[in-house]
């Protein structure tokens, strides 16, 4: 075994080592802790890109922890989908960390950098693991870190929202464990690939229990993804969090979406008896409702950060409309749209912060305020973010929505999908135009002009994120081909089962 074979463990190992290191040096050498944070993020990006290069040809890298063979030991599985999400996480982490450091948000508490790395460890682990219980553990790691990050900076608003966020997720974890217990009792395994093979042999008398377990597990993922009607925790939490943290949280809901994409075809796919595609009929209506609720929230939001939080719900809804097709074309479109929607919602949170830092006491409220200094730059950024969020050309949202619409046309319910996607886009355009004109064009009578911001460096992170979106748009041919290949790989669970289980497969 050469060093290169250990590549799949590195996305988990790097932040796991960086976090305690940052914790140790945080108090005395703050600059060193910042350096560790950046170095760890850059290393994760490099490893993720390497992994992507290695799996893009279709190979599935399997890493057995402790060299215990699957299905007895825990395996990490790096395929195209996992590599895509690892690259996305590392990119987003770099942007969010940059913004936190530039705006000095990381100085409002002691443990920002260690928590940030633990958050990344949980995210990377959840994307890599091939074991359902291990997925639960990594979910907990990322949730515990997210509780800390969400409360970073403290204050009554954050504490109030934090209590709800923690309680909701604790209930979610309990449901996750119940679903896991049922699946283990029925199949006798926790390895996803092995479970996908063994669900076929579940006794006829237990089919009802299997169906319940499938739906319970799906509802837990739906709760994490904040799909209507399980979305109520999100707007308050995300709009109360520190903006740089909220930008990173843009990927937390995508973890739920990822888990759906990963688990449903592999475990509850063809041949799973009563559980075969059990969540599928529920997903499209829920996705349509999420898109409607999300963009309605974008239209009525009272502040930019609230608007960004509703945009998270809306874009997840749009994403899941494509996922709900469960075909290579529609899942491919979804996987192209997923990085776009993550980076877009992150930009929205960052722009909300840029505006709030320049408007003094008015913050990011969507009402006319003072004619503040540096309006032009902030307005241009907001326009870029709004273009991305509504899916207008030239940014990648346009191509993503086009792909989704094209793939949805082949579905039986395409009328609903088209109506909702086009309708919510229209509502989103009006909503962003309304808030943009209120903040950047109108001025309130007698509002005192706040002092010019001491630094304009806080524009860097959102500009970087928008540049990523432009790159995603420029490289659309390659990116959509990769996404479609990843979708095809996800929808062929037999191949990955063979790779994971090796000779142990029957």
């Amino acid at each position: 075994m050469t060093l290169a074979d250990h590549l799949p463990i590195l996305p988990v190992a790097i932040p796991a080592l960086a976090a305690p290191a940052a914790l140790l040096v945080m108090r005395r050498h703050r600059a060193l802790a910042v350096g560790i944070g950046f170095a760890a993020c850059l290393a994760q990006l490099a490893v993720a890109l390497l992994l992507m290069a290695r799996v893009s040809g279709g190979t599935i890298l399997v890493y057995s922890l402790g060299d215990w063979p699957a299905p007895f030991g825990i395996v990490l599985v790096a395929d195209r989908l996992a590599a895509l999400l690892l690259v996305l996480t590392a990119t987003l982490a770099l942007i969010a960390l940059l913004h936190a450091v530039v705006t000095k948000a990381d100085r409002k508490g002691w443990h920002f950098h260690p928590l940030f790395q633990f958050q990344l460890m949980g995210l990377n682990g959840a994307f890599l693991t091939g074991d359902l219980f291990n997925l639960f553990v990594f979910f907990e790691v990322l949730l515990i870190a997210s509780y800390g990050l969400m409360l970073h900076g403290q204050g009554p608003a954050r504490l109030k929202a934090g209590v709800q966020y923690v309680v909701v997720n604790l209930v979610g974890s309990a449901l996750f464990l119940i679903a896991l217990g049922m699946l283990y009792a029925l199949t006798g395994t926790l390895n996803m690939a092995d479970m996908g093979l063994r669900v076929r042999a579940v006794a006829p008398a237990d089919q009802g229990l299997l169906r319940i377990a499938a739906l319970l597990l799906t509802s837990v993922f739906a709760l994490k993804a904040a799909i209507v009607p399980l979305h109520l925790w999100l707007p308050r939490t995300y709009s109360a969090a520190t903006p740089a943290v909220a930008a990173l949280f843009a990927i937390l809901t995508k973890v739920g979406v990822y888990a759906l994409i990963r688990v449903v075809p592999q475990v509850f796919g063809e041949g799973a008896g009563a559980a075969a595609w059990a969540p599928a009929p529920w997903l499209l209506p829920a996705a349509l409702a999420s898109a409607c609720v999300g963009f309605a929230g974008v239209f009525t939001a009272r502040s930019l950060s609230e608007q960004a939080a509703y945009a998270v719900i809306g874009s997840t809804g749009t994403l899941l409309i494509a996922v709900a097709g469960w075909s290579t074309a529609s899942l491919g479109a979804a996987l192209y749209y997923l990085p776009h929607s993550t980076l877009t919602t992150a930009v929205l949170f960052l722009v909300a912060d840029v505006v709030a830092r320049r408007r003094g006491s008015f913050g990011d409220a969507t009402s006319p305020g003072p004619a503040f200094a540096g309006r032009e730059g902030a307005a241009l950024l907001f326009m870029g973010a709004a273009i991305a969020a509504t899916g207008l050309p030239p940014l990648s949202g346009f191509i993503g929505k086009l792909l989704i619409l094209k793939s949805a046309a082949a579905l039986p319910d395409w009328g609903w999908a088209w109506a909702v996607i086009l309708g919510t886009t229209f509502i989103g355009v009006i909503g962003f135009a309304r808030t943009g004109s209120a903040i950047f064009w109108k001025t309130a009578e007698g509002a005192e002009t706040p002092p010019a911001p001491e630094t304009r460096l806080d524009l860097i992170a959102p500009v970087l994120a928008l540049a990523c979106l432009a790159a995603l748009s420029l490289g659309a041919g390659w990116a959509s081909a990769y996404a479609e290949a990843a979708a095809a790989q996800v929808l062929a669970p037999a191949t990955s089962a063979a790779a994971v289980l090796g000779s142990a497969a029957p």
Partner: protein, 127 residues
């Protein structure tokens, strides 16, 4: 009455109590509810390896049959995680009460006797 029936009833009672308490308005009751729920989940996980009496979970010279050891490992992990999370939820609820002056989950100030009819002597004294 069989062993399975007893365990199932206990899990059911714990879940029912947990859900009832978790839906209450006050953070203390909610934390208690979450704790009950996690007890129920731990018992449930334990039972997912089937209830077998008097058999060792790992290798033993004299044993000819074993009980499933994996659920016990899972329960251990789940206990550690839920214990940490409960401690965190308690501290968070306390901080939230001290900073906002309200121990309601939705963060709003509601007259305490409107909730459950209890006298709220010491709470009325809070700033």
């Amino acid at each position: 009455m069989s062993y399975e029936f007893l365990v199932a009833t206990a899990i059911g009672a714990l879940v029912a109590g947990g859900i009832y308490l978790a839906l209450r308005a006050r953070t203390f009751q909610v934390v208690l509810g979450l704790t009950l729920l996690s007890y129920a989940v731990n018992l449930f996980l334990f039972a997912s390896g089937r209830l077998v009496a008097g058999r060792p979970p790992i290798w033993d010279k004299g044993a000819d049959a074993y009980t499933d050891p994996l659920p016990q490992a899972l329960v251990l992990t789940a206990i550690v995680i839920t214990f940490g999370m409960t401690a965190f939820a308690v501290i968070l609820a306390l901080r939230s009460f001290l900073e906002t002056g309200s121990d309601h989950v939705d963060g709003d100030r509601v007259p305490c006797d409107a909730q459950d009819g209890l006298a709220d002597g010491e709470e009325g004294a809070e700033p």
